[in-house]
Symmetry: C2
Subunit: 217 residues, 2 copies
Amino acid sequence: MSKPTLYGPRYSTYTRAVIMALLEKRVDHSLVHVDMDKKEHKAPEHLARHPFGLLPAFQHGDFMIYETVPILNYIDDAFPGSRLTPADIHRRTRAAQIMSVINSYGYRPMVWGIFVPRTFTEPGKPVDEKAIAEAVPKAKQALQAIEDLMVNPDPFLVGRQISLADLLLVPIIHYFAGTPEGAKILPHYPKLMAWHTIIQSRPSVLETVPKVLSGVE
Amino acid sequence: MSKPTLYGPRYSTYTRAVIMALLEKRVDHSLVHVDMDKKEHKAPEHLARHPFGLLPAFQHGDFMIYETVPILNYIDDAFPGSRLTPADIHRRTRAAQIMSVINSYGYRPMVWGIFVPRTFTEPGKPVDEKAIAEAVPKAKQALQAIEDLMVNPDPFLVGRQISLADLLLVPIIHYFAGTPEGAKILPHYPKLMAWHTIIQSRPSVLETVPKVLSGVE
């Protein structure tokens, strides 16, 4: 079967999580950029991949998948390499819960509520401080829930092996940690802080740092 | 290990999906009602089970789980009985995508956008027709996506075996089909219509019809 293709921009947190999974499993792949600034994700070509016009989408042969968690599970099951899903049912369930908490409660306040207005408000325009203030308690609640779901985090979220939950969380925390709110809030979650410090040096993390964070064009 | 306990009201679509999974696998269990009208889901006792104050939560021994898809996967893996997760990777991925589409795009417009205002608006008060009109295109988009993700639906969403995706979808479609909007929209999705007709007679469906639909107190 031909090598798989991932559609999405490197700066998208969900696209980055999938790239990291492909790197962790050493899966040779193609990355097709979808430019959100040019609204390419809402163009018919991309809507044929993802009917809701979101990112990423993943194609393996003629099998097209959208929605990040199903993509991640497919990659873990379809390709050889180290397993990114815990064999132990309790760790596996906690990893699944963490991914669900990220998607349902954590992603939106941390990325769209705080990181985006702090980072991308045009110079001279006012930052939407009200939206940020509303997002802060929601971000805290999600972080506390994730901290409480971590199982003997040594060094990863649910144990000694990196899992899909780690990959889904890294890009979001990476953005969030660079905001004044993130810098202030994160130290209240010592297990997550220790995790974030250690996982920074993971090759799949280092190889996927978005330009907006690395400063390198 | 003691028999598991499910916390939630029978009329909650997500709670009903979990009850159906327990019935499909013939798992002896206890059901503890959580009365949303009395705000019991926001009381400390329930927040200890589910920090976001939603339903259901599921306890097996001292292992507490919240978020429905992780609960469903845990039940399928932890207990004997027929498998509710397809062994084939493509069917399994489509089932996971359908569950993700339900949670991310389908549940809110069909249940909260249409079913709830049509069913529970107090007599004499105006129905929020604007909210319903806004929910209709979103419901259609989600239904089209689910219809497109169905794999040889004969008779279930991804094949000959019932899966967790069927269980997650039944309670939502059951409510939606009883609204004027649902009755008008659903016939445009022939595969879903055929599925809904057939699955109505499934014992786990019949045994869990909520009072609001059966009319039986």
